[in-house]
Symmetry: C2
């Protein structure tokens, strides 16, 4: 949203004496002294989710998972989370459902919830903030990509956006969509933060990394802007989720795979194999020219769409 | 709210293997390994504030200040904050106003804002999470009060509640109330977290501490419950803000003074004097009997009201 950019820029304007080694505002998580990572993300009913196609438990899970994805994108390890919840008047049972989902994700990903606050309000709003530890080699920022580096993604893209599109196009109940394509809907409801993949990429020398929350176009553009580079992506090698289109991949959000960049592609692939992880897929190269291009069966053009703009609202 | 208690209890149920020295859920801030403090608080339009009597800038200031008050209540020092903001559709300028107030408080209290997220939504919701450092002597919990300890407060109570009551009773514009009593309204809009007082109390051996966000009755009851003790308060020595009543003091929130408990009252008072702080006021004693009583001109009875329940909603 434009609001978000203005708000972030306004906060950035307050950022004067950032201590050496710290990074404030503008990456997936802030990096503080001692290798501490600190991030926050908010999920709003009617903007990020609809309780027609997900449960309160799903919202709780996702609220923690999307924050942990921010830690994953720095190569980090979760340490603790706090939760602030606004519960709609007349729907008090929602608080317990959301708490149950938060608890499941906390157990699953090893991130205890150590504090919380709650209030009545109009719609369900769940804000999670997480604290993490950067890898010993240092947090992987968005700004380290160099000309010639290989660009990787950690899994199939577009599945969550395809599931949301099907839900909206068909007005079908989630059971129908679930029957047709379980993977995308589960990704939309209960994403998996790629914590192990993020750590493996950091250890193996990734020079820049981001999580794909807003679609490949917008998120890859962030890496390119912060690094002062461009990219050429080969459309035909992008791993596309079942039933997803390239439009879902480029413009659709909520996949929470990681996109990272590395000079030595072979050692990245080996590191993932040693860690028992699915091989990351090389989808293109970093270029000196500051534009992001897509090559598709011999034609080349600018990458479509600027990114996910909370289309569900 | 009942919701809050249920939610907090549910999260507490997930709390199994809390490492030694850490404290999760149930105090003003969580205490993590390495003396890290971690807390979150949310402000919701129509519940915690009304833009009839405060500006977007006031909301930003207060959202950070109430979090810093949680750190103060542990004897802590602020380190960094992150902010998640839900901005109502059609009022995009609010985001910049809130950010400006956040920035002022951040500068004023030495707590940089290092990250943020924002979304559209129905009403203004500002969630801040803070990271702080515990004092070398260890964070002051709610649970250390002992029979015979003196109970202190750091300043005049009831001012914010009195201002809110006047606004509601008279339906007067804030300018009228401001003219009649500037202190309470300013406290309501732009509270001052008692960070220096909290550190002085911790250094001088405070055994339990809490910030007065929900009124003296509710907050002192938290200390007594967590410590397994009771208290007798002397009503006639409570420092009451101008235009405030004892009902405002006991049941009204938003003062953000600190209430702390200490075995050695004299050294507490000396420590505050040495630090150049206003003397804390001793308002009563901790007792073995597990009830909170108020002595008022020779009569003694239970402390009135259970605490602030977001009366503005």
């Amino acid at each position: 949203m434009e609001d978000e950019l203005a708000f972030i820029k306004r906060l950035r304007g307050k950022e004067r004496d950032v201590p050496p080694g710290e990074h404030w505002i503008g990456d997936d998580a802030a990096v503080l002294d001692g290798g501490l990572l600190f991030a926050t993300d908010v999920l709003v009913e009617g903007v990020h989710f609809d309780l027609e196609w997900c449960s309160g438990g799903d919202v709780g899970w996702k609220a923690l998972a999307v924050n942990l994805s921010d830690l994953a994108a720095m190569g980090g390890t979760p340490r603790a989370a706090v939760v602030a919840m606004v519960v709609p008047r007349g729907r008090p049972a929602l608080a317990d459902e959301v708490a149950a989902g938060l608890g499941e994700a906390a157990t699953n990903f090893g991130c205890p919830i150590v504090g919380g606050d709650t209030s009545a309000g109009e719609t369900l709003v769940v804000t999670v903030s997480v604290l993490g530890a950067a890898p010993d080699s240092g947090a992987v920022l968005r700004s380290g990509a160099k000309d010639g580096d290989a660009i990787f993604v950690t899994g199939k893209l577009g599945g969550a956006a395809a599931a949301l599109r099907l839900l909206q196009e068909t007005k079908a109940g989630s059971a129908t969509v679930l029957g047709a394509e379980p993977i995308g809907l589960e990704r939309l409801r209960r994403p998996t933060p790629r914590l192990r993949e993020g750590r493996a990429a950091a250890r193996a020398g990734a020079t820049a990394m981001i999580d794909l929350s807003d679609g490949l176009s917008g998120d890859l553009a962030h890496i390119c802007e912060e690094s002062g580079v461009g990219a050429v992506i080969n459309a035909s090698v992008i791993p596309v989720a079942p039933m997803a289109t390239l439009a879902d991949v480029f413009g659709g959000g909520d996949d929470y795979e990681l996109c990272f960049v590395a000079a030595d592609a072979a050692s990245l692939t080996e590191a993932f194999a040693r860690a028992g992880l699915d091989a990351p897929v090389c989808i293109g190269r970093v270029t000196r020219a500051r534009q992001v291009l897509v090559e598709d069966h011999g034609t080349i053009g600018p990458m479509p769409e600027a990114g996910w703009r909370h289309r569900f609202c």
